[in-house]
Symmetry: C2
Subunit: 469 residues, 2 copies
Amino acid sequence: MRALTAAIAALFLSAAAAAQQAPRYEIPEAAAETARTLAERGASSGLAWEIVESLTTEVGPRLAGSPAEARARDWAVQMFTELGFSNIRVEPFEIDYWTRGELSAEISAPFPQPLVATALGGSAATPQGGVEAGVAYFPNFEALARSPEDDSLRGRIVFIDDRTLVPTQTGAGYGPANFKRTLGWLEAQRRGAIGVVIRSVSSGAHRFPHTGIMSFPEGAGRPRIPAIAVSNADADQIARIVGAGHELRLRIRSTAGWRGRAESGNVIAEIPGRERPEEIVLIGAHLDSWDEGTGALDDGAGVAIVAAAARLIGQLPRAPRRTIRVVLFGAEEVGLLGARAYTDLHAGNMDNHIVATESDFGAGRIWRFDTRFGDRSLPAGDAIHEILAPWGVLRGGNQAGGGPDILFMRTQHNVPVVTLQQDGTDYFDYHHTPDDTLDKIDPEALRQNVAVYAAFTYLAAELDVDFRN
Amino acid sequence: MRALTAAIAALFLSAAAAAQQAPRYEIPEAAAETARTLAERGASSGLAWEIVESLTTEVGPRLAGSPAEARARDWAVQMFTELGFSNIRVEPFEIDYWTRGELSAEISAPFPQPLVATALGGSAATPQGGVEAGVAYFPNFEALARSPEDDSLRGRIVFIDDRTLVPTQTGAGYGPANFKRTLGWLEAQRRGAIGVVIRSVSSGAHRFPHTGIMSFPEGAGRPRIPAIAVSNADADQIARIVGAGHELRLRIRSTAGWRGRAESGNVIAEIPGRERPEEIVLIGAHLDSWDEGTGALDDGAGVAIVAAAARLIGQLPRAPRRTIRVVLFGAEEVGLLGARAYTDLHAGNMDNHIVATESDFGAGRIWRFDTRFGDRSLPAGDAIHEILAPWGVLRGGNQAGGGPDILFMRTQHNVPVVTLQQDGTDYFDYHHTPDDTLDKIDPEALRQNVAVYAAFTYLAAELDVDFRN
């Protein structure tokens, strides 16, 4: 009993010590009240829905480098103009342009039947007339990567299976599962295979294949072989046939390929700060999408959430202290090329980027507030969280990623970041498939996102906090 | 109070009178016990799953008249042989053969983007290079059918919208919703339209188009225009653009068409009756499928259910009185051509068809037992129902349809029929789409079907009941 009392006393002492190290941060009541009002307005605003409906309908799919992505930039400039933003501009950059062309894939033997498939981003075309070959089956990427580099795969088509992606709130598991997509081509090509087929990196129970860009490691060049993904149902079918001991053969025809250089660009709009306009709170999303769906969840929803949240702040009678910069990145899907261009162009001004975040994980409710702040500003993070908490938001840790387009700012320039973590349990059912369409967005969850973004963004721009410290 | 007593007395009297008109039918205890045992065996048998897995994997899609449908007949003969059936045979017939070829469909203006579409069965090809035209929008089939037959649709593409199909347990609503698919082409073509596009006849929330055969009324000939269905999400997109007042234009390219004559066939196998082998209890399903999925729910499941149920009966030490005939119909999807061929070929023997039923509504649990019997055999129907009831089966009415391939036997020859009504709430999410694959079948529900089919089929073949009376 005495030991317990001592333990409790120690607990209180250490809590007190912690409280001493990190004193409570008090948000001025006027700012807290404005943030709460903004959240209420966000939760009852139809603006984000109007924005994502407009983008997915009037532009639709918008592949990086394509004429459709250029139309999306025009659309974004017009949208920001109509919503009264300032300093609206496009920062163009050039990219290598890839398109999928046409694809057919089928089991040619022993049981001929078509497969539902998609070319992976960066895939090569087949020779005209296609390729047809026996299949070398690997249960996962690691099995292929560890297999001997002898001639056993020469002239064959490699199939990389895996377990179906497990759905999680955070998307955990997507990264490791993705190696078969990003590097499967290289391991197959290096062993003389003439094509690579993977199980889609998808938790989806419906028969959609999941596309996505491949990786092109330094010195490896671009793929010379076709690389495709089949739906989970088709991967099951392949696994069943191979599992029953049959010699499986596939036929693939693809006209995918790189088509030279093309223009992309980031679209920027601002709400200038009233006291320190040079200091920037950056909220982003990406404007490009894969070409098979209409890019509603990825990332039309993000575009709508950050634009609508900033618009609500712009309608306040008095702008916050710092500038709010909305960045709609181009060419995210094909390798974070807009993020690269933005970070390079603004490298000299990164110290003025006070905090950054991106909405790029669908349209599920925000359930956690993660930060990556300096220790001394953590109490301010906790205080901001208290404003967000009534919207169903838990306090997360201090290892936030911030979002894909924020990556280089964070890793190369130590820009403080926040992740407003969305519930992505069903995200990988739809992501990068033809099924990523407007009807998959829950309007109420979308409004909750706007509520949380508006409150956070306002506070980050209004409070006198240096999140680096 | 006295009035109430009198009412109760009247109730008892009328119940007694009813009981007098239709005396209770007692199933002999040995037969009841065998039926119960068969149901128990069905509920724990993996055979149906093995059958549908084999058919959907080793044959896959099996369009009527195609080489794949011929392989399915070979597969069926082998399956019946391995399972020890008797009198296994194929009854061939010829059909007009249609294939879809290749299709692309897109919004060409004002917001260019591809559509997810499928050709409807019987659709014509477009001229090479496709057709491109302004869209005439109709909110439903009736609006088109009632529109004036003037020149206002000449050179245009007709779009027939509708509300998304409401899911129901029984599939109610599918019939009326289907007019746009079956006859939309005719109403459009007659008014000079150069193509017809419909909202899929589907309750599906995922981006699959729903194919299906069109109707070709006497004298109308075959379609001369392309006829396609788009997914619900794409129909929403079209409706949004038209609803916003834009002039919508579509482009369609299709190589669909009729390819002359081809062979189809019905596959038959029997368990000969021990006392009255000439009397037939027919249980059917259809062997063909649409070409985009692997025909798991439509109708691989039905094939598996009836074959597995009959097999269980075939394993009894003593066959039932009457012959059980399993018929796997060919060319159902393209206009009940196998049903037509069977009924014509066996027209002289229809009086020996004691009762017939078909499993063709997916793999959901059976929840209702519908009959179409003569009045005097209704008590036998009720007694059979009592055996099925513990499996979750309610007693339905006496207006059963029996199944599509049973139609002509019933309507032209008054063959008594039964419907073992399956829960089809999600059937039209998958039906006739690429998403009709093995993983959509719930193995436990499939076993419940086998249990109910085995018990019913055995009793129909064993009991001395003339269901016509």
